[in-house]
């Protein structure tokens, strides 16, 4: 779907601004500068306003997504189930750092998604995986990257 097609599914009312931004983010995996411009025109707001709203929310991406985005929950519940060590081990194994930008592989910390009982929880390119261990995470990453 194109940006315009997605926009047309939403009535140009203020309460549909966030749903429209979300829909574009979901369908195209990110919200480009071009998209911000189109959303602004469609809802009759300034580009600055639309960007200020969109940038408030964690789910919205403004960079073309990396090949792989790995998010690891660091809530206290997942933490006592060893999520902290998984972060460290992934950092050393793939020689990357949390929050550093790289067009291949991005590693982030994530807030609780309410699946605490099945922790530690990780999210890979938007898909949630539960009951993770370092070995399982590394295997998943290698599958995604096609090693």
């Amino acid at each position: 779907m194109t940006i315009q097609e997605i926009l047309l599914q939403h009535e140009p009312e203020k309460k549909n601004i966030l749903p429209a931004i979300k829909a574009i983010n979901q369908n195209l995996s990110w919200v480009s500068e071009e998209a911000i411009g189109k959303i602004a025109r469609y809802f009759g707001e300034s580009e600055a306003y639309i960007f200020s709203v969109a940038s408030f929310y964690d789910e919205i991406n403004f960079n073309k997504p990396a090949l792989l985005t790995l998010e690891i929950c660091d809530g206290a519940n997942c933490q006592i189930k060893d999520s902290d060590n998984i972060i460290k081990n992934v950092e050393t194994f793939f020689k990357i750092k949390v929050d550093s930008f790289n067009n291949q592989f991005v590693l982030k910390r994530m807030s609780c998604v309410g699946r605490c009982l099945e922790g530690p929880v990780v999210k890979i390119n938007g898909t949630i995986y539960t009951k993770m261990t370092t070995d399982k995470v590394i295997e998943l990453i290698q599958n995604y990257l096609g090693y």
Partner: protein, 405 residues
């Protein structure tokens, strides 16, 4: 004694037919056929039902304020933006019994005179969202939503609205801003949403678990409800129990149980482990050291242990408290919305101090700064998020759990 989970089947969701079979929407029929809206409000007020989101404000009083407002448009919002770490009660409610929430919402909208309702759900709850969307559709098809509901001349439109990952949107005024297509930053109070909420109209915002109690109260009476639990904090509560217990999970218990009893319900402390402390209410919750385990967490004024949202995390003696401290502050630093300086900068500074504590570089200057920062976050931030970020840290200092402090 169970109210919310009495009809739940593990691993299955109560669909429309199942819900009717266990007496669903009987309360709504009773309300629309036999009760005036003022009677509904009076009944809920008498039940002393308190908000289950954390603050514990009386639901009846909230409804009364909005119900007495003369206004052409009022709004009713259900808050299912549960994102407190360690909490999964509202999510489970949405997955297992979405109609219970909807029935409470429809009764509430009737009681306060709202013709438009929104259910604001955390954007990551795909499964709960799917169940709720189906439930809304079933309601529209069976004349429980839409025009002239059950031939009572009462109209209600109900919409689901997905959040996009922001903890602060669980705060009612931030949630309203988010619904209006703005940044999800909290508003200055007063005016409270009851006076000027969504699109500046009187608005009720209730937590999903609170609303799920409404149908039971209408059916069984406020007097019966007020008898359950503690007199000034009646009813049952969903507890999300996790950590070093035998059977982590979601438990519904009356609100007169001690923390020890809650832990025992979850199978007791895991074999071979010893409790270091219990945290009640998620990352913004109070710490309960071992000598306070016989306290009853509740919504009573001046309760030693406020129940908060009802998350119970049992932390064993094997865990490194410093690392858990870092997990809390990491969360608040990430979720601070950036609107006010004390919270935006304070959580950031606090994080670097705790990072130094973990790496062993904590010094005398850090110690001084730490106490100043705690005071600042506790007293000067715009909304409660700043205050929440130091609740547990203050307890760590109060109970002298880390010698460096």
């Amino acid at each position: 004694m169970k109210i919310l989970t009495k009809d739940w089947v593990i691993g299955e969701s109560l669909n429309f037919q199942d819900y009717l079979k266990v007496g669903g929407y009987k309360a709504l029929r009773k309300v629309l056929k036999k009760m005036k809206s003022t009677e509904v409000v009076a009944e809920l007020k008498k039940s002393k039902l308190q908000g289950r989101g954390g603050a514990g404000f009386s639901l009846g009083s909230k409804w009364e304020i909005v119900a007495t407002k003369k206004c052409d448009q009022k709004y009713f919002i259900c808050n299912l933006d549960e994102s407190e770490p360690g909490n999964f009660k509202d999510k489970s409610l949405g997955e297992n019994s979405p109609h219970q929430i909807l029935e409470g919402m429809i009764i509430g909208a009737y009681a306060v005179g709202a013709s438009k309702a929104f259910l604001y759900i955390n954007g990551t709850f795909a499964m709960a969202g799917q169940k709720i969307e189906q439930a809304i559709e079933d309601c529209y098809q069976n004349n429980l939503l839409g025009k002239n509901i059950l031939a009572s001349k009462f109209d209600l439109e109900l919409e689901i609205f997905y959040g996009a990952g922001a903890y602060i949107c669980g705060e009612e005024s931030a949630l309203i801003n988010s619904l209006e297509g703005k940044r999800g930053e909290p508003r200055l109070k007063p005016p409270y949403p009851c006076d000027s909420g969504l699109f500046r109209k009187p608005t009720v915002v209730n937590n999903a678990e609170t609303l799920a109690n409404v149908a039971w109260i209408i059916e069984n009476g406020a007097v019966e409800f007020a008898k359950i639990g503690k007199p000034d904090s009646p009813g049952t509560k969903l507890f999300s129990v996790d950590g070093a217990v035998e059977r982590p999970g979601l438990y519904e218990l009356t609100m007169d149980n001690t923390i020890e009893q809650i832990i025992r319900t979850a199978g007791g402390v895991k074999e071979g482990f010893e409790i270091q402390f219990i945290q009640v209410g998620g990352s913004s919750g109070r710490i309960v050291p071992r000598f306070l385990l016989s306290e009853i967490p509740s919504y009573s004024r001046g309760a030693v242990i406020p129940i908060g949202s009802g998350a119970i995390l049992a932390v064993s003696a094997n865990e490194d408290l410093k690392k858990i401290l870092l997990s809390w502050i990491n969360f608040f630093q990430r979720e601070s919305c950036g609107k006010c300086v004390p919270c935006r900068e304070g959580t950031f500074r606090l994080k670097s101090i705790i990072e130094r504590l973990v790496s062993g570089d904590f010094d005398q200057n850090d110690r001084q700064d730490l106490h100043k920062l705690i005071w600042t976050l506790d007293n000067t931030t715009f909304c409660p998020l700043g205050k929440f970020s130091v609740v547990a840290l203050k307890d760590v200092i109060r109970y002298k759990m880390i010698k460096e402090f």
